[in-house]
């Protein structure tokens, strides 16, 4: 009996298996890989095992002993042979800027030397940096398989000379201000969407029935238009020689030489993203408003309340589940938005996702990109928790 019940249940689960597999492969797995990559980096440890082993006994202050130098020379040359050197050096260089040229120069010279009595003297001779404790500390730290350095980096923190955690120098703090800016921009976009979307949703929910579909269609059309087309249209409208500026100049509202920069900056990002995300605000609002019978507003009127008062005391509170749902949706989408700021944000309109993309594609610092993504994920999670605390997720209504 129990057995058959189990089989029945299992059989019922069969149809969703493809979906489960799909989610595992395309969502859970990449997410897990990314999170692992943000703390785990075996490359240097794999390339220079002996050097790192010997360095582990080093006191961290004096010049290491000869054996360390001997191992380092052998393993760096080995890495070059394995076409691995570039990647190893890049990582060391990230921890200790300047190390790239030191190592590459030395390796080039080492290729011409067949042997040496003291690799220590030879290397220090080639570049005095080899005689500094900093250099070896950098190599030792880069060799850690499990490391918090990407997260430290992403949080604008660093290891001080004593190994303790300190803040980056002010001019090198970029990620936290960028994250702050991303949050602020997302918040403004959410507020703008609410401001623009609420009246639209109200209009649709209270329009005569024959208009409802048409109006909803107008809200949805942007969904069916390529994101690129929409963004390009914004460029046409907003650029310095664009439609809006031309109109303003033609109307004499601004002078020819004072055309307003509305795109390739933060304004462009905010405008275009508000447009893209507006439907995500309108739809939850509409679905909530649709369920509020006009009866309540009538009742409020018979009780003596004018429209503004009735709206504020009776209508608005009842739309809150929609307001919460729409805001959360827009905010979370905005926080991770990439393509629009990339296209119309210029330099000043970039968000944290663009930075992540940069580290993925340009600087190839995947560890840092992963750490930044991890922090972003955490932000979304924290926001969700705060929201649940303050509002209560069950009070939201998404559709």
């Amino acid at each position: 009996m129990d057995g058959t019940l189990k089989t029945v249940r299992l059989r019922a689960a069969v149809p969703v298996l493809p979906l489960v597999a799909f989610i595992l492969v395309t969502f859970i797995a990449p997410l897990a890989t990314m999170l692992v990559r943000s703390v785990y980096d075996p490359l240097v440890a794999g390339a220079m095992p002996e050097t790192l082993f010997l360095l582990s006994e080093w006191d961290g202050k004096s010049i290491p002993r000869e054996a360390v130098f001997e191992a380092a020379v052998r393993e760096l040359l080995g890495a070059r042979q394995a076409r691995n050197l570039g990647r190893v050096v890049t990582r060391i260089n990230r921890v200790q800027p300047g190390m790239r040229s030191v190592i590459m120069k030395s390796v080039r010279k080492l290729r011409r030397i067949s042997g040496s009595d003291s690799w220590r003297d030879t290397l220090i001779d080639m570049d005095p940096a080899w005689g500094k404790a900093q250099t070896w500390q950098a190599i030792r730290r880069t060799g850690e398989r499990f490391t918090m350095r990407h997260y430290l980096h992403a949080l604008d923190l660093d290891r001080g000379p004593g190994g303790g955690i300190v803040r980056q120098k002010p001019e090198r703090r970029i990620y936290m201000p960028l994250l702050g800016r991303t949050l602020a921009v997302s918040l403004s976009i959410t507020a703008l969407c609410l401001l623009l979307g609420y009246p639209v949703a109200y209009l649709i929910a209270h329009a005569p029935h024959r208009w409802t579909n048409l109006l909803l269609l107008l809200v949805l059309v942007p969904f069916w238009t390529s994101l690129l087309v929409r963004t390009t249209s914004w460029i046409v409208l907003l650029q310095t020689r664009g439609v809006i500026n031309d109109a303003l100049v033609a109307l004499g509202l601004i002078a020819e030489e004072n055309r307003i920069a509305m795109i390739y900056n933060m304004t462009g990002t905010v405008v275009a993203m508000t447009h893209v995300l507006l439907p995500f605000m309108v739809l939850p609002l509409y679905s909530v408003m649709r369920t509020i019978p006009p009866l309540y507003m009538n009742a409020a009127a018979t009780l003596g309340a004018s429209f503004p008062r009735a709206f504020w005391r009776v209508y608005w509170p009842q739309t809150q589940p929609g307001v919460f749902a729409g805001s959360l949706l827009v905010f979370i989408l905005a926080i991770g938005y990439y393509i629009t700021p990339e296209l119309v944000g210029g330099r000043s309109g970039q968000l944290i996702s663009n930075m992540i993309a940069y580290h993925m594609q340009q600087s190839l610092n995947w560890g840092l990109a992963a750490a930044l993504s991890g922090i972003l994920l955490l932000c979304v999670f924290v926001i969700y928790l705060i929201y649940d605390r303050v509002v209560g997720i069950e009070r939201m209504k998404l559709g």
Binding site: N298, A301, T302, F307
Partner: protein, 370 residues
């Protein structure tokens, strides 16, 4: 300015059309006195709600005037009309407690917390719901919700309260209980109530006067007794209670009475509509006014009938009779000693007094009565 100092609400020549073609309210003339309980009674779609909505200000009359206290309210928005309203679906604000709901109209009117508390307490006491202030509407039963709705419509002490089928969603026992309750409250507060229902018993229990609606027209306005005893229109006779309606032809007129030929027999009837010999009329006879085996001195109308069907209904017997070939004539006889004398299939004589038989307009005539 106002010819009748006592009229609280006045409809004068009001017509209403939603689509510009069909009038859902036609030439409505109606006066409601101060402190009166007036019920608009009629079948579904007859325009009762529309009348109430025009009075509340949610709909505008297409033509005609509505006056409250002698003043036209044409340009007055609903929130300035100062009348309480109870809706069929309660319309309690779901996000406010009972106390919050009651407090709302008082806050709008700028009463201080002290006054508000006192009024709310009194209002809840009146509907016997003391102690439920903190509850949300969703935590109340249907009957309790409707009591709260009534309290909310009264808490700001309006002199006029509109109710649109407020008891429609409740079960019968609760409905009856609340009917008496509403009447008691209305009598004690002396407010004017315009009440909409399609339940005639409800109208009978509560009203001072009943206005019977049909297809946007008022057929008759009168006290519940008069509506029942003295219907002036065929529709009212058919709609209120049960009536035997027989088509007939006037053969003679004598004062208040007339002679009518029905299915080969001649009966005397009370003349309601003006009629001349040769006119077609409808006779309305209440089943309980028909006497079986009548005493010829009292019941001047006498006919032959055959009992086709007999149903025992506790307090009375319901007989379906064949009278001159028509087999839908209903007679009710009270369950008193001796009722066992009649049996199915019996041929009997039946009779009624001329004043219990009203000669109304014939089928199909759409006259205008005021």
């Amino acid at each position: 300015m106002n010819p009748n100092g006592n009229a609280h609400v006045e409809f004068e020549g009001v017509n209403k059309s939603y689509d510009g073609q069909t009038d859902v309210v036609r030439n409505l003339n109606l006066r409601v006195q101060k402190g009166e309980f007036l019920t608009l009674l009629g079948p579904s779609g007859s325009g009762k709600t529309t009348c109430l909505m025009m009075l509340a200000g949610f709909e505008m009359p297409t033509t005609g005037t509505i006056r409250i206290d002698g003043r036209s309210v044409h340009n007055l928005p609903p929130h300035k009309r100062g009348m309480g309203m109870v809706f069929q679906n309660y319309a309690l604000f779901p996000h406010m407690s009972v106390g919050g709901n009651l407090s709302f109209p008082l806050e709008v009117r700028g009463l201080n917390p002290e006054q508000r508390r006192e009024r709310i307490r009194k209002a809840l006491e009146m509907v016997r719901l003391d102690g439920l202030q903190e509850r949300r509407p969703a935590e109340l039963s249907g009957g309790q919700q409707q009591r709260v709705a009534i309290a909310r419509a009264l808490v700001f002490e309006p002199s006029l309260v509109l109710m649109d089928e407020p008891l429609g969603a409740l079960d019968r026992r609760l409905r009856e209980e609340l009917q008496y309750e509403i009447r008691r409250i209305q009598r004690s507060l002396k407010v004017t109530i315009v009440y909409v229902t399609h339940d005639q018993q409800e109208a009978m229990v509560m009203s001072d006067r009943v206005a019977v609606f049909q297809q946007g027209r008022i057929e008759q306005v009168a006290s519940p007794e008069a509506i029942y005893e003295e219907p002036e229109r065929r529709f009212v006779a058919r709609f209120i209670g049960e009536n035997n309606l027989l088509p007939g032809k006037v053969t003679a007129v004598e004062g208040d009475l007339c002679q009518v030929e029905i299915e080969g027999a001649i009966v005397k009837a009370f003349r309601v509509a003006p009629c001349r010999p040769g006119d077609m009329v409808t006779l309305a006879i209440r089943p309980e006014r028909v006497c079986v085996a009548p005493d010829p001195q009292v019941y001047s109308n006498e006919l032959e009938a055959k009992i086709e069907d007999l149903v025992f209904l506790g307090d009375h017997l319901r007989l379906r009779m064949n009278v001159h070939g028509r087999s839908d004539f209903i007679v009710k006889i009270p369950n008193i000693v001796g009722h066992g004398a009649v049996l199915e299939g019996d041929r009997v004589r039946i009779g009624w007094t001329p004043t219990d038989c009203r000669a109304l307009e014939p089928i199909g005539e759409m006259g205008v009565t005021l």
